[in-house]
């Protein structure tokens, strides 16, 4: 294939992250046997030697003049998308488009996307986004920096992105943001520098810890905070040596810091070769942090903040420190503790290998035009539901919202919902579905008012349970929708809507997301002498499930059960959480939390806890904070208990927690609150039921209580021991990220997309 790459950034020298990214990507294209014509818009200064290097690296190089002074300044607080695309470039682009017809035109940065408009429909158009520019100025101001470079709003960025067929995002979080804006297919292609991994240190040598960065004030501030937290005695005694390199070192030269300042750093590899540990204490900001990736690529163990590892899906707590100061705390442990040093080394190595493999697989799309074009014809799937998932206030809302966000990476999603949607509801739901999908309310169809029986009501195909669950308005409205919309597959949410599988016009690929096996749940209720609100026999439920091509199982126990009954049908698709920070609360009065909806399981579990466990802690100087609708049914006079009721900011609530409990003793499915506690790294005491279907982690990632006495003892331990809380928090976080990070949904969603892609493909609707 012939690639024309239009870039305002040179590929040589690779002394900045964006240049390295471009260089690595183009090298891959060359390795695939493609021709690369590199069209450099001279927005950045380079030497003649650099130009010669570019000419040597690529098949053809075109240099286009550019005068930054002629670039338009922001107007109305933002840049318009073409502010930097100078009129002189237009004639140049016309000329290039007349002279050659590349197979693919790739533009670096959305603000040069106008270049794509000069090429015909047969040319595949790609934007390598590098960053999200929507509201970038607001983001910078929030972290104390003056807006610089390019920043715009969603409407302007959309104009640019929509000029492409495919948009490359550098990491998944940016992919999700860009896909909310654009109808182009957004695909993540990460970046791993093409460098030789240095040999590992022997682990028992003195600790040399290093950082290299520019003089950006954010870097300088973060490094200072990090240095303040490092144990001064360890440095003074010579147990540890800290080396700061690059512009950051220059900026620190007049200050008294306990570090060796290395400036200039001519080459990265020799600098990294002197280190046993690289740190990245970066605070604030978004995007992939090249510094982190660079250190990992050089084979160095790394400790860093949550922001420093964004996009790399880290698991260890020391790869997700909450602040630059916490990076310092982890570094102190690294200096003192040989086994921790090995732990950091191993975890960094695993992360580097996994990320390199991920990037390699992402790059494979460039091997052929077929593979590139396959992203334009993603299968379109219809979600059929009555869950107000955009509210994200209950477990099932959260499950569906996260699932759709993740699914957008490999499928296009429409949602058909049995709800009346306000303007705000529709906007919130549409944001989750993204710009390539659409949300349809059944209220938009005449069938929603119908009193006439639907044809299915007379059919023997409908099971007894389905007859009872049937809404003829839902059924008719869905059939009306299917008369004008076609799909490669559909996913029904919950068995209570299973009767809709009979609707005419549905595609062959039928999938049900059960959330729970109702008959098993009913059995569990009756074990405790209770009646479940939804009654279905095991036989009938399994009969209904057997009619679906695939069943999405939310947790492992149910997946195993379904797989044993219906081999090759059950797809494990756990609930997953986007990357969240590890909770590190230091409340003067310890805060124990519980979150729950107003379900009998939550009510009974919490009431048992309040009557049988909590009295032991009346005088322990701790408070129980309860959030969610479960508060409605609780007595208000329990000592040391604060009822918050329904809360909008669950994240904020969980970030304030010191300890969490889940005392439910019956129920079913997966307990989303347990997943949340683990992912936030909140040390927790859980019952067996609270961990149902979560494989492993017992007394490592959480404390399991199998009796009242154990519940009291475990809670007592966590209250009195900050060390136990700290250790459990780190273990919970790592376990949560591994089991329930967004990555955990990838295999299941990929399998669904693969099954759907074998179905007839349909174009994206305008």
């Amino acid at each position: 294939m012939n690639f024309l790459v239009i870039s305002p950034t040179p590929s040589h020298p690779q002394n900045a992250g964006n240049r390295q990214r471009i260089y690595t990507l183009l090298r891959y294209l060359k390795a695939c046997g493609h021709q690369v014509h590199f069209c450099f818009i001279r927005r950045e200064w380079v030497t003649d030697e650099d130009i010669r290097a570019m000419e040597a690296a690529w098949d053809k190089v075109t240099l286009l003049a550019h005068d930054r002074k002629k670039e338009k300044k922001p107007s109305g607080g933002i840049h318009a998308i073409d502010d930097w695309f100078l009129p002189s470039l237009e004639s140049e682009m016309k000329r290039i488009a007349e002279e050659e017809t590349p197979d693919v035109v790739m533009v670096e940065y959305v603000f040069f996307s106008k270049a794509l408009q000069f090429f015909g429909e047969n040319v595949l158009k790609i934007i390598d986004s590098h960053d999200v520019f929507t509201d970038r100025h607001i983001h910078l101001q929030k972290i104390g920096l003056e807006p610089s470079f390019f920043y715009t709003n969603a409407a302007q960025e959309k104009i640019g992105l929509n000029r492409a067929d495919i948009v490359l995002a550098i990491q998944d979080e940016e992919r999700a943001k860009l896909q909310e804006i654009t109808e182009a297919a957004v695909v993540t292609v990460g970046f791993m520098p093409d460098v030789q991994s240095l040999p590992a240190d022997k682990g028992n040598e003195g600790a040399t810890i290093g950082y290299i960065g520019s003089s950006n004030p954010l870097n300088v501030r973060a490094v200072k905070r990090f240095l303040e937290a490092v144990d001064p005695t360890a440095v003074a005694d010579g147990k540890a040596r800290i080396r700061i390199g690059g512009g950051t070192a220059t900026a620190l030269k007049d200050e008294e810091v306990k570090a060796e300042l290395v400036t200039p750093v001519d080459a990265l590899a020799p600098f990294y070769a002197t280190l046993n540990l690289a740190v990245n204490p970066h605070e604030g900001g978004t995007g992939l942090k090249i510094k982190t990736v660079e250190a990992l690529a050089h084979g160095r163990p790394v400790i860093g903040t949550w922001e420093a590892f964004l996009g790399l899906a880290p698991e260890a707590a020391f790869h997700s420190a909450n602040s630059a100061a916490e990076v310092g705390t982890f570094v102190n442990r690294f200096i003192e503790n040989v086994s921790f040093r090995e732990e950091v080394r191993q975890a960094s190595l695993r992360l580097a290998e996994r990320y390199a493999r991920t990037v390699e697989s992402q790059l494979r799309m460039f091997r052929s035009m077929d593979e590139l074009r396959s992203h334009l014809t993603r299968p379109r799937i219809l979600y059929i539901t009555d869950i107000p998932f955009w509210q994200e206030s209950l477990g099932n809302h959260a499950r569906m919202a996260e699932q759709i966000r993740a699914a957008r990476g490999c499928m296009d999603i429409d949602v058909f919902i049995f709800r009346t949607l306000s303007k705000n509801d529709l906007a919130a739901a549409q944001a989750i579905v993204g710009a390539r999908g659409k949300v349809f309310s059944f209220k938009s169809y005449p069938g929603c008012e119908s009193r006439q029986p639907a044809w299915i009501e007379a059919s023997a195909a409908l099971s007894g349970f389905e007859k009872k669950s049937l809404s003829r308005q839902y059924f008719r409205a869905l059939e009306e929708h299917l008369q004008v919309h076609q799909y490669a597959g559909y996913i029904i949410q919950y068995i209570r809507l299973s009767y809709l599988r009979h609707a005419q016009g549905l595609p062959k690929l039928s999938i049900i997301d059960i959330h729970d096996i109702m008959s098993i749940r009913s059995k569990n209720f009756s074990h405790f002498g209770l009646e479940h609100f939804l009654q279905i026999s095991e036989k009938e439920e399994l009969e209904i499930l057997s009619n679906f091509r695939a069943i999405l199982a939310i947790q492992t126990a149910e997946h195993r059960y379904l797989e044993s009954l219906f081999p090759g049908k059950s797809i494990y698709l756990p609930h997953a959480l986007s990357e969240v920070r590890r909770t590190r609360s230091e409340n003067p009065v310890l805060r124990i939390v519980f979150v729950g909806g107003d379900s009998p399981m939550n009510r009974d579990g919490l009431n048992w806890f309040l009557s049988q466990v909590w009295p032991c802690f009346y005088h322990a100087g701790v408070e129980l904070h309860v959030a969610g609708e479960v508060c409605k049914s609780l007595a208000v006079d329990h000592p040391q208990v604060v009822l918050h009721g329904r809360i909008d900011d669950l994240r904020g609530f969980l970030e304030q927690a010191d300890i969490a409990i889940n005392p439910v003793y019956y129920g079913g499915g997966l307990k989303i609150k347990t997943v949340e506690y683990l992912c936030y790294g909140i040390p927790s005491v859980l019952t067996v039921e609270a961990t149902f279907g979560i494989p492993g982690g017992e007394n490592e990632a959480y404390l399991l209580a199998t009796s009242r006495a154990e519940f009291i003892e475990h809670l007592s331990l966590l209250i009195r021991s900050p060390e136990a809380r700290g250790a459990l928090s780190e273990a919970a976080f790592a376990f949560g990220r591994r089991m329930f990070g967004v990555r955990s949904m990838t295999p299941g969603l990929d399998a669904v997309a693969a099954l759907a892609s074998r179905q007839p493909r349909l174009p994206v609707e305008a």
Binding site: C616, G726, A754
Partner: protein, 249 residues
């Protein structure tokens, strides 16, 4: 799980001794508080030395009353209904099959065409010659089957396949995809009608519960024989066995 600070140093899993003590203390304190409340007017009227003495007596009395309560509860425990026991401590009643099981990752996997577990779309029913079983693809343009990921990583796949109607694999294109990625299949002996195809491929790491879709695409053939009763079906490539093993993770 590797951690620098082991939780085992913090947790006493020997059976609630500390909790028992804490419950006893709580119970004693509750009785003492109740007595204090009842005697509050009297205690307020006496001098500090007498009040301190009275406080000591009340605390001791609280302990005695707690012991009596525990004794009474122990006796009552024998006669308590199941419902009552659930009310006090339901946790031991949670069925043991709800307990979490640590994942065990299998390193290999085999599936024969005759196995009940061989399920998917686009396949004809299994057939056998008494020695071996197989399934023809070709019911749809693509035949799919969900297979376990074995925890992901680098995997090796062997497909024991057969061409229909005695045709040979020479010059025949069989396309296999892992999810949506095309496999680079290598035939061991393509100049035959039955042949093992092998391929290495990679999947993202997972915890061993996930599946991927194996998709077979290729030509569909009609029975070329001019027999009286030719096979009326359109058949694609047949599969005898699917084997998979994990190379590394």
């Amino acid at each position: 799980m590797s951690r620098s600070t082991s939780l085992s140093s913090f947790i006493n899993l020997k059976g609630g001794m500390a909790a028992d003590e804490q419950i006893d203390l709580t119970l004693a304190a509750a009785h003492t508080e109740k007595l204090e409340l009842e005697l509050k007017p009297l205690l307020a009227a006496v001098d500090p030395a007498t009040a301190a003495l009275a406080q000591g007596v009340l605390t001791a009395l609280g302990r005695v009353l707690a012991d009596v309560a525990v004794l009474r509860q122990s006796i009552e425990q024998t006669y308590r209904s199941r419902a009552d026991r659930i009310r006090i401590d339901p946790l031991p009643f949670i069925p043991q099959d709800r307990r979490s099981v640590a994942p065990v990752q299998e390193a290999q996997f085999e599936l024969y065409a005759g196995d009940a577990e061989f399920s998917g779309t686009g396949w004809h029913a299994p057939e056998t010659d008494g020695v071996s079983s197989w399934r023809w693809s070709g019911v749809e343009p693509a035949s799919t089957i969900l297979l376990p990921t074995l925890g992901g990583g680098r995997l090796h796949l062997i497909l024991d396949m057969q061409m229909p109607f005695g045709l040979k694999f020479t010059d025949v294109a069989v396309t296999a995809l892992i999810n949506q990625t095309r496999l680079d299949l290598k035939a061991q002996n393509p100049n035959s009608s039955r042949c093992n195809f092998e391929a290495d491929f990679e999947l993202p790491d997972d915890e061993g519960f996930s599946s991927f879709a194996l998709i077979l695409q290729g030509e569909r053939y009609r029975d070329p024989r001019e027999a009286a009763n030719p096979d009326p079906r359109e058949l694609g490539v047949g599969v005898h066995k699917i084997s998979m093993s994990r190379r590394e993770k």
